[in-house]
Subunit: 256 residues, 2 copies
Amino acid sequence: VTPLPIRFVLLETSHPGNIGAVARAMKNMALADLVLVKPLRFPDPEATARASGADDVLARARVVDTLAEALEGCSLVFATTARERDSWYRVVDARSAARRIVTEARPRPGAQGPAPAVAVLFGTERTGLTNEQLMSAHALLRIPANPAYESLNLGMAVQLIAYEIFVARAETEAAPPAARDVPLASPADMERLFAHLQEVMEEADFRDRTQSGTHLMQRIRRFLNRAELDGNEVNILRGILTAVQNRRRVAGGTRG
Amino acid sequence: VTPLPIRFVLLETSHPGNIGAVARAMKNMALADLVLVKPLRFPDPEATARASGADDVLARARVVDTLAEALEGCSLVFATTARERDSWYRVVDARSAARRIVTEARPRPGAQGPAPAVAVLFGTERTGLTNEQLMSAHALLRIPANPAYESLNLGMAVQLIAYEIFVARAETEAAPPAARDVPLASPADMERLFAHLQEVMEEADFRDRTQSGTHLMQRIRRFLNRAELDGNEVNILRGILTAVQNRRRVAGGTRG
């Protein structure tokens, strides 16, 4: 089975044993792209011991300092969560998310070069992902579990999602891949869009009475991420922002 | 969630840590009936440590000497296997097996006393179930996995099957609709948003070289609809548009 471009990103993992268990769980389900953002201890003999036979996945795991680096070359981003509902993000159960991930990651007929990766984010063992980290995600992925005892071990969560991806892949291999004409905007494109929008808001002296500037930008980020914009759509929005700025600058210039 | 009468039977488990992980995995998915046939070491501090919060499942686990004792009071029995095909047994994938298990374990209307338990058997970490042990099963349960690296950790296998049972159970029970804190923006609100955006684009003299105005607005409508905006989010966008307009009008007014 050729691995699909599906990247699992572990953020600030505390226990190296868990990283080993994750490598094994991924390999069991034919996944190989593991990125570690600031792991507490890695490499570590405990990770190697728990990987048992998945040392190749462990050896190729990349260690980076920021989530942004981890998401380089990615398109769709899911963040794992224990929340059943969320006011800001779409919450998708693991099974539906897996189908979406596979559809997105499969090679498109006639496409040049490798497809951008789909990323799944996993937070720390104790506290999961921070609100800031969630801000990079298009949607949240939730594993259904016992409401009275939901705290899944990190390795188990990875195993379940990897399994759903494996099953979804088997299901869709018969069917042709869905065509997407234009790839999703990259996380870096989205960052530039948010920065541009903020600039325009500042130039227009836009203030929201009900919330602070940071809070407002966060809300905007969330709902624009939810839209899963492709590259052209980001360009349209950037074009509108530039047009608005030029107009104002011309007007201002003439005035002065 | 009331646990259904579904029993997980571990045969001659070598590592007590795995027994703890199994208890946790079961509790995560609302299962509680664990039976251990001749475990190498149990009870054991390693089991307790790995159970983390599922000590109740561990405390109630029964230790017995034979598979026959473990299966007392059971009806349907599945044996876990890595085989894809088998000459003797029906091999059922984890998902289909879970549906069957739940159907079998649910209380029947008008039935007297507790329903007999459905059992799932798990062999030793190294060699799985013996042919003799398989002989007690009605069918084999197989977890789909990477053919190049199928050896699932015992805890992971339990987690996957417990999860499939949990999902199958949820599927068969009617779910109430999800609550939403802030209602979705109405279609009329969305229309006003689109009209406002178009106005600003015209005032800014925004043109897209690649597509006609109608086509462009259609694209924008599609991706904003995809975001499933609520009323507050539409208000934020309208506020930004108004701020941009006021600024430009003031600038234009001074100029004229």
